[in-house]
């Protein structure tokens, strides 16, 4: 299955080299979880604190993904 992954802010650097506009399509085995996606991209788990699947917050990294979903990951923003 294929999911679209969008990485924001400081996580941009973990996008695959073919990514454009901050997003990329990633091929994953059927039933793969958010955690597997995060590992595939090489994002440290401590940095993947805010994960949205199709615009809804997904606090549980073991949630299985479905073909065609969009996963957005961004870091909590500390400054101010």
């Amino acid at each position: 299955m294929k999911v679209t992954v969008k990485l924001f802010a400081t996580l941009r650097k973990y996008l695959p080299p073919d990514a454009t506009g901050g997003k990329a399509e990633v091929e994953l085995p059927d039933g793969a979880t958010v955690r597997q996606l995060v590992e595939r991209l090489g994002i440290p788990q401590s940095a993947a604190r805010l994960v949205m699947v199709d615009g809804e917050h997904c606090p549980e990294l073991d949630t299985p993904l479905q073909d065609g979903q969009t996963v957005s990951i961004f870091p909590p923003v500390a400054g101010g």
Binding site: S46, R49, G55, G79
Partner: protein
């Protein structure tokens, strides 16, 4: 006698354009005039929030900030100017002076202090809403603990580079900060304004969103609050609202479900901390009496040139710049090493 150039404090005339906005109206404005706000942190976000809320005519605004103004703050911290830097003013005090000139209707209470578990309840217990103008997650989790414990609304905002995020927390109604971000990234993982930079525009957007949330709450329109986690990137033209409402049901949150308040109990959080990547450390040393700047200046006479005013005392030794506050706190510039900073404090300020 009030002439045409005099402002009558009883009158709501100066707020006419805000009252004209039907969602607020005169009744909403009267409520805003009675509203009490505690603002934690008065840097980039905090100055914009304080500016909007003071002009909007809140009744009372308490501003707590631990820091003083430096030249590199002026790029984005809208209430400060060059004279404030030259005068070595703490941010809370300089903000209060400016805000009183903007709107004398508003009672402003500046407090130069570090918000921590020993004082936060006192700072927020009489507030109708708490605004986050801080620059670190440690203080935000502390605000979250206090707000959930007391059942007070608060508005989180954060900004780095060109991006920022905000969410509004109404205990018992919306998810709390820990429902959404259960723990902060470890130090070093999270970029700071000093390592990633910060654009004034990003701060103005996020702080303006925070301020309007406060106005909704104060004017009695909790129904209109933002129930999403808003994320913006003003350089990349990204404006997103992520749905988080369902988290209240889903997440076994230690704060709002289990009633654990570790930050409020002082179990987490060190008070001697590095300051947002600034090559500076804040050393906190609790004391019961205020520090006498006269005595400290006398003691340091042979060591360094010492300058002080009512608010702070400054001297430099071996390239380390000390800024000492009357509550005994010091900000030591020139190191990120907490142990080194403690040693320097003990050497020159003492116990």
């Amino acid at each position: 006698m009030s002439g045409p150039n005099e402002h009558n404090q009883e009158s709501l005339d100066r707020y006419s354009r805000q009252m004209m906005f039907p969602e607020i109206g005169e009744e909403g404005q009267r409520r805003i005039r009675r509203g009490r706000v505690t603002l934690c942190g008065c840097g980039a976000l905090g100055t914009v929030i304080a500016n909007v809320l003071t002009r909007a005519g809140v009744g009372f605004l308490r501003i707590i900030d631990r820091d003083f103004i430096e030249w590199h703050n002026l790029q984005r911290q809208v209430l400060f100017d060059e004279d404030d830097v030259r005068e070595c003013l703490p941010k809370a005090e300089a903000a209060a002076r400016k805000l009183r000139r903007i709107n004398s209707d508003v009672e402003i209470e500046p407090i130069v202090a570090d918000v921590d578990h020993t004082n936060i309840l006192e700072f927020v217990q009489d507030a109708d809403v708490i605004l986050d103008g801080t620059d670190n997650f440690e203080t935000r989790y502390l605000i979250n603990d206090a707000a959930v414990k007391l059942g007070k609304p608060w508005v989180y905002g954060g900004c780095i580079g060109s991006h920022g995020q905000t969410m509004t927390i109404i205990p018992g109604e919306t998810p709390c900060l820990r429902c959404v971000i259960e723990s902060a990234p470890p130090p070093g993982m999270a970029p700071t304004c000093e390592t990633a930079g910060i654009l004034g525009s990003a701060v103005n957007v996020i702080a303006s969103l925070q301020a309007v949330e406060a106005l909704k709450i104060l004017s009695g329109r909790k129904d209109a609050i933002n129930r999403n986690l808003i994320y913006i990137d003003i350089w990349e033209d990204v404006f997103k609202a992520f749905k988080i409402e369902a988290l209240r049901e889903k997440v076994d949150c230690p704060t709002c479900k289990k009633g654990e308040f570790p930050w409020l109990e002082g179990k987490f959080g060190s008070h001697t901390t590095t300051l947002c990547g600034r090559n500076a450390v804040q050393v906190v040393h609790r004391r019961n009496e205020r520090l006498s700047f006269e005595e400290l200046a006398e003691k340091l006479k042979g060591v360094s040139d010492v300058r002080y005013n009512r608010f702070m005392l400054r001297f430099t030794v071996d390239g380390y710049e000390f800024t000492v506050f009357p509550d005994g706190r010091a900000i030591i510039k020139g190191t990120n090493d907490i142990a080194k900073a403690r040693t320097l404090y003990a050497q020159y300020v003492g116990n």
